[in-house]
């Protein structure tokens, strides 16, 4: 069965560019707005916004810029927010290492990637060296 948007939501998906440092703040503000509209609890809002902050920074600083796509998702009776952070940067050579806490690539990716995984319900990382990286996170209400 395919997932589909609920009929009552006005705007179900969108995207925003992630190219300059100020976009990290813009991204946080957008995710705050979305999680508030979806009536997430305050703690869940904070977790999602923080994860978005980490991942958007990675996209801009290490991915050499990219885009964040967002989508309101439903599965039967539950609703959630899905964010995809995509870049066409250098990619991550060693995924296991990158997802280890406190790992730094010398360019300092540190705890952002592995930490974000703990802040959300679903986490998916796809990367190809030389082509780019895509991180998808979902948080259900």
């Amino acid at each position: 069965m395919t997932t589909e948007p609920t009929s009552t939501d006005a705007c179900l998906d969108g995207s925003m560019p992630l190219s300059a440092e100020r976009d990290i703040v813009a991204c946080r503000q957008l995710v705050r707005k979305l999680t508030q509209e979806l009536k997430f609890s305050l703690v869940d809002q904070t977790k999602m916004i923080t994860a978005a902050s980490e991942l958007s920074r990675n996209t801009i600083v290490y991915g050499q810029g990219g885009v964040m796509r967002w989508q309101i998702v439903s599965e039967g009776a539950r609703t959630g927010l899905r964010l995809v952070f995509e870049d066409e940067g250098p990619g991550i050579p060693d995924i296991d290492l990158a997802l280890t806490d406190g790992w730094t690539s010398g360019t300092g990716m540190g705890i952002g990637l592995s930490g974000s995984r703990r802040l959300v319900n679903d986490f998916e990382l796809r990367t190809v060296v030389g082509q780019g990286t895509s991180v998808t996170i979902t948080r259900w209400r």
Partner: protein
């Protein structure tokens, strides 16, 4: 419109009042709830409208998961959610959808009187479609019930995790029952909130009422203490029974410098001392 869609559409339009009446009568056979009976006609009409919309948009009657059936799916989801919230049984809710077969088959038989083979095929197709609708209803009903139960559990959880002020600047959170992730989460949130509200610098988490402590439970407790310390307050864990102390040592759990006391009384005594209080008893 595709011919089979047109055929179905005609059945729905031929004698709409009669159709509705027959459907509701059939559904009522399995209906105990008076308030649901009141909303049934409205529900039925909404469902019919969505069916007509889909049929006229040339939705494929063999693919109920198609995008064109999305409004019907939404209507059915909302129906099962509201019925679930009102306490209707899964059977009743399901039967409401299945009951549409009665007037539908009657209509098809009438329309295709002259062609039994075509009538048979149409009834088969209609039955399959309605079964898929009922299946969808059952699934969303299930999820709704689960949501309701979850919410009730949450409320129960909130009632059973009170945070009390023991003294000026000292809060206590007595934990009772098994410490699972959601309960610990709730206690953590409530406790932290109360710390801010009351400006208490010490929290005592009492686990006298917790039957077992394993590595997972210890992890949850450690997270709670870390959060409390991050905010600038401190924490004592009390109510450590001998068995629990043994388990902690055996499992090699590192309590990372958290102060622990056997009883809540000991913890309170320590808390008072830390706060600079001295208790005296005048000699009689």
């Amino acid at each position: 419109m595709k011919p089979e869609n047109a055929r179905f559409d005609n059945v729905l339009n031929a004698a709409p009042e009669q159709f509705l009446k027959s459907w509701l009568a059939e559904a009522a056979l399995s209906l105990d709830n008076v308030s649901i009976a009141k909303t049934a006609p409205h529900d039925a009409q909404e469902l019919l409208a969505s069916l007509q919309e889909a049929l006229r948009a040339d939705a494929d009657v063999t693919r109920f998961d198609d995008a064109k059936w999305s409004r019907t799916r939404t209507v059915l989801s909302e129906l099962s959610q509201s019925r679930a919230a009102q306490g209707a049984s899964a059977g009743e809710t399901n039967y409401f959808v299945l009951a549409i077969k009665k007037p539908f088959f009657a209509g098809l038989r009438q329309a295709l009187d002259a062609n039994p083979q075509a009538a048979f095929d149409a009834v088969l197709a209609a039955s399959a479609l309605i079964d898929r609708m009922a299946q969808w209803t059952a699934t969303t009903y299930q999820r709704s019930r689960e949501n309701v139960i979850q919410r009730q559990q949450q409320e129960l959880l909130e009632l059973s995790t009170p945070v009390v002020k023991l003294w000026e600047g000292v809060l206590a959170a007595p934990m009772i029952g098994t410490l699972d992730s959601s309960r610990t989460q709730l206690v953590m949130e409530t406790l932290l909130q109360r710390i801010v509200e009351t400006g208490s610098e010490l929290a005592i988490i009492d686990i006298t009422g917790v039957p077992t402590v394993d590595t997972l439970v210890a992890q949850h407790l450690l997270k709670t203490v870390t959060a409390i310390r991050l905010m600038g307050a401190d924490c004592i864990i009390s109510g450590i029974r001998p068995q629990i102390a043994q388990t902690i040592v055996q499992l090699g759990i590192d309590l990372q410098g958290i102060v622990t006391k056997a009883t809540l009384a000991d913890a309170l005594s320590l808390a008072l001392k830390k706060g600079g209080w001295a208790v005296s008893r005048p000699v009689r």
